[in-house]
């Protein structure tokens, strides 16, 4: 059952990875287009700076979970690297739970931030007048994926825990 759950979780965070990669490509194309238009055709996209920044916010937010899955977030393993067996698992679980609590807290408040921006009708002071809650929403979506990934991590450690004991 847990295996199935982990499988579903992987699928979901895979979507985040794809979107994050897509935003990287969008940024490159958008800025490339802007440079081309400016230098050859003496015109501009008007939105290149603004939208590539939004894409960047989405890139980072949606990629957080994938980075966690691939052990890409760095930490100091100077002391914890020496731990073995049960102590290692306790350390892993407690740090992951702490990260999970912080993520849930951050998720709640980034949703609140986006909602407030939405209800105040805040718009970017640029030609596009993009409603700012749209780029802000990328953050809670990404953090939700991160939360799922952290739960997956805890499950994996506990699951492994049981199998080595028996």
């Amino acid at each position: 059952m847990i295996g199935k759950l982990i499988h579903i979780i992987r699928k979901v965070s895979g979507i985040g990875t794809c979107l994050s990669s897509l935003f990287m490509i969008f940024i490159t194309i958008l800025i490339g287009l802007e440079v081309l238009l400016r230098s050859v055709f003496d015109t501009t996209t008007h939105i290149s700076t603004e939208y590539s920044t939004y894409f960047f916010i989405a890139l980072v937010s949606l990629g957080l979970a994938y980075t966690m899955r691939e052990d890409g977030h760095i930490r100091i393993t100077l002391l914890t690297g020496r731990l073995k067996g049960k102590a290692k698992k306790i350390q892993e679980i407690s740090t992951t739970v702490l990260a999970l609590i912080i993520s849930v807290f951050l998720f709640y408040h980034t949703v609140l931030m986006a909602y407030e921006t939405y209800s105040l009708g805040m718009k970017a002071d640029t030609v596009s007048e993009t409603p700012l809650y749209i780029p802000q929403l990328a953050i809670p979506v990404g953090i939700l994926l991160l939360i799922i990934q952290l739960i997956d991590r805890i499950l994996e450690i506990i699951y492994d825990f049981g199998s080595t004991d028996t």
């Binding site: 590539s52 960047f56 760095i74 930490r75 951050l106 709640y108 609140l112 953050i139």
Partner: protein
Amino acid sequence: MISDPLILSIVLFSFMFLLLFAGLWIGFSLFAAGIFGMLVYDLNLPPVLSVWDKIGSLMANSMYNSLNSWSLTALPLFIFMGEILFRTKISTKLLNGLVPWLSSVPGKLLHINVVACSLFAAVSGSSAATTATVGKITLEELKKRGYDRNLALGSLAGAGTLGFLIPPSLIMIIYGILSDTSIGKLFIGGVIPGIILGGMYSLFIIVRVLFNKDLVPQLKEKYTFMQKIKASYELIPVLFLIIIVLGGIYMGVTTPTEAAAIGVIGSFILAALFKNLSWENFKSSLTNAVKTSCMICFIIAGAGFLSQVVAFIGIARALSEYIVSLGLNAWMLILIVGLMYFLLGMILDGISIVVMTLPIVLPIVLEAGYHPLWFGIFLVIMVELSQITPPVGFSLFVIEGISEENITTILKATFPFFIIMASMVLILLLFPDIVFFLPSKM
């Protein structure tokens, strides 16, 4: 509840290091330390506002504000560019183009790491990428031809760190944003110190070889002038990239972020020309770039929140005032700052160090009369040192991975180059003009 800012700062930073050593991810540790700081501080909030709401909104806003940055958008692009180039034949081309020229210099191919890293650093934003890309070809070649292993490993470790000093540079982008310094000027300011540092590495190799002829194999590799010129064609791809990336910034036509996007496109063109552009290569360079970018940006977001807290509860000002009250002269101050970075460099990576310390250190250093542009370059060299200081040095790990040598051998080989780098800090202190010369011509 603690109201004395000095005690508060000690408690706060102890708590942060406790989490860091407990193995909590660096980004999360920074967020947790910020929350902790707000909780132990004597907040005077109106009763309608709970402390948790205040913390939460500060956290959400600083996360959004740290990421909502056009300049920071350059960061994933430069990382992406490095990942693409790592998977191309560009390092082989560099080697082929440089070998004929180096064969007539004392020390011969031992200079390959220095020269190839300097050139590659001009298209790469990080030390790890430079070390990995150049080292994966050169270490094997030098071994095959019978060159001294220690000098090969050491020069790679030393020269690889030029990735941060010679523009483009991820550290400079981050420093520029946090300190409100022109990233373009920082980039150009790093060129001369980078060349001096590379020159000192080469000088050291020449001196070593003059005293000990056994370090270089007695092979006779002779090249005619025409052969040298012909081989130089292999360098054209790198030079092409350097010109399109740095040329625009130097002439003021492109911003660093635009230059980064041009660099990504240029790298794709090269990869296609070299026939290295497979779907596998494309996918892995993209996902690796996403991973590295997210790792760095999450730390930046955490540090953004912590620095808000540090300012909010008055630690930043109290610490600055305290340092000023000690009446240190500018030299003493920079010495202490340097020592602190050296110690932090032992346990943390360069980018984390910069984002964590800057909110407190920068005002103190500026107060003492140092220029932000100069301090940026100083900081980059301190970060470079941290790349090769044990037990946590990212360049050391990279070299361990590609050379299959044990870490003790690598450390011994790296030590002389570490000393050279440290003396570069001294040169920078004595002759600050080497930083300002090129930017003033922009």
